[in-house]
Subunit: 305 residues, 2 copies
């Protein structure tokens, strides 16, 4: 089934110990849609400026991503620049130019409004809520956020979270949002806020999926070289939501097959791991579904006992 993705489409300048690029395609919406495109039909809602390259639009189209909701306005596309530490576990933002993103008011094409799956990438909570409101009949609404919205936009964010079935956080965000340092207790508090399903990402250590009284634990994939971690969390979201949409999974169903949710977490982990193998979205230019399923099987072989 079809998945609508909302978020940023951007240009990034990235420096890692492996090299430096001045301006490559990036943004949460881009990464989520590309990762999800391997599992299901994807539509995006985002804004770009006059400088947005045809080759970048072509890349998205070539993966079957529907661009009707990609607004083009005068001005420049959102630009982010950052540099990673030697061990890749920290990054410093050098520059954030919101540009056309500053006045982004997401408007869904009529055709998108009836789609069953929605993933709200990490943008201002009020914008996430406005998109959620445009899809009242959605079957599964998922969302991502970040520390900045949790600390400075808490009221707005809690309102957004109330309308979500699925929330994606990393461990420090989960602790910040819940006020609990223990992750099991943090998860229970967050499930009280609205979502029936929570995924807590732990970077190289994997991910945890929580529902009431049930947890799935996934270890992280052991890459020999992390080339560029930018977008890995978004690719997790894309693989997770893309798989659920492709399978038509209903998270509101209390008797949903729990192993199906585990498979979604593993596909999310697989897509996040591929993302790290090259700069920006480059790995997705050549990635095949066969490679994806091969790595999924690697996870199975490495976790069965």
């Amino acid at each position: 089934m079809s998945l609508v993705v909302v978020g940023s489409v951007a240009y990034d300048g990235v420096e890692t110990p492996h090299g430096k690029v001045d301006r490559i395609l990036g943004g949460s919406c881009t990464y989520i849609a590309l990762a999800a495109s391997f599992f299901t039909k994807t539509q995006i809602v985002a804004v770009v400026g006059e400088d947005f390259g045809q080759e970048d639009a072509d890349l998205l189209s070539s993966k079957g991503v529907d661009l009707e909701g990609l607004e083009r306005v005068s001005g420049k596309t959102f630009f982010w620049q950052g540099v990673y530490s030697a061990d890749m576990n920290d990054r410093t933002t050098l520059r954030t130019d919101l540009n056309v993103f500053a006045n982004f008011q997401p408007k869904l094409p009529e055709l998108y409004k009836g789609k069953p799956y929605l993933m709200l990438g990490n943008i201002q909570p009020a914008l996430q809520s406005s998109v959620r409101a445009q899809m009242p009949g959605v079957r599964l609404a998922g969302g991502d956020t970040m520390n900045y919205w949790i600390s400075d936009y808490r009221v707005e964010l809690l309102e957004t979270i109330k309308g979500l079935d699925f929330l994606l956080l990393n461990d420090s965000e989960a602790r910040m949002l819940s006020g609990e340092s223990n992750l099991r207790r943090a998860a229970n508090r967050i499930l009280d806020l609205g979502p029936n399903t929570l995924v807590i990402k732990r970077g190289e250590y994997g991910a945890l999926l929580f529902r009431r009284d049930r947890v799935f634990m996934a270890p992280g994939y052991l890459l020999e070289t992390v080339f560029d971690p930018t977008g890995a969390g978004d690719c997790f979201a894309g693989g997770f939501m893309g798989y659920l949409a492709g399978q038509g999974v209903d998270l509101r169903d209390e008797s949903v097959d729990f192993r199906e949710l585990g498979r979604a977490v593993i596909y999310g982990s697989v897509m996040g791991s591929f993302c790290c193998e090259q700069f920006g979205v480059d790995r997705f230019r050549t990635l095949t579904r066969g490679e994806i399923d091969g790595r999924f099987q690697e996870f199975k072989n490495a976790t069965e006992f």
Copy 2:
């Protein structure tokens, strides 16, 4: 099959955010033997002083631990005192009195020398080697170590490691020993040093088992409360080696059932998690094999997809 355990039997003073105890039974040998005792018959080789309490010897005996190799000499038992940080991820050693341990020269009772399984707890590498040499026909020799021996006793330690089938390290020790920050590459280097099997513990994030071209990844158990983490790594070792000994697994067999090794890692994780639930060894006073298997099943339910 029978497992011989060598290491320290000690008294500990421990302070965690949950409380403080001045003097309780501890030591690597104690924790390994207690954890292993739920899976197989266990013999210990260690030294204690005149102050060693009968009730502590009785606890070990009550679990079927053979004390013939527990030497009693004049003087005081090894004493360690430490305090944990608020998040339990760091601890500071306040006091280490080697006492009778300073002159420890492990001598195996004749009956022990023919036993098939050996676990060398974290003590000076030369002592580990001397024990290994007393059991030339051993079927599976495992060992643990720590950062201090890696940095200051490297030559001795490399000699010990050469004689091991199985080595247990945490992630920072694996990086220090191999000089590689990437864990997959670090593991390959360490497997070149002698052992056919390496387990890298990652604390709350679980554990990784490496053999040539094969890896098993276990997530960490999600405890709601970590009461006292002292001994958790030793209990992992005890659960892991105890299970292998109980099943008669031969790590030198290249066609060994890999899922059996995964089950050993999970039982190690289970024993480590129980250890954290109460101060010192207290949890093992009441723990049952049924509870152990229940938690093993919890791991299965939380990782199958």
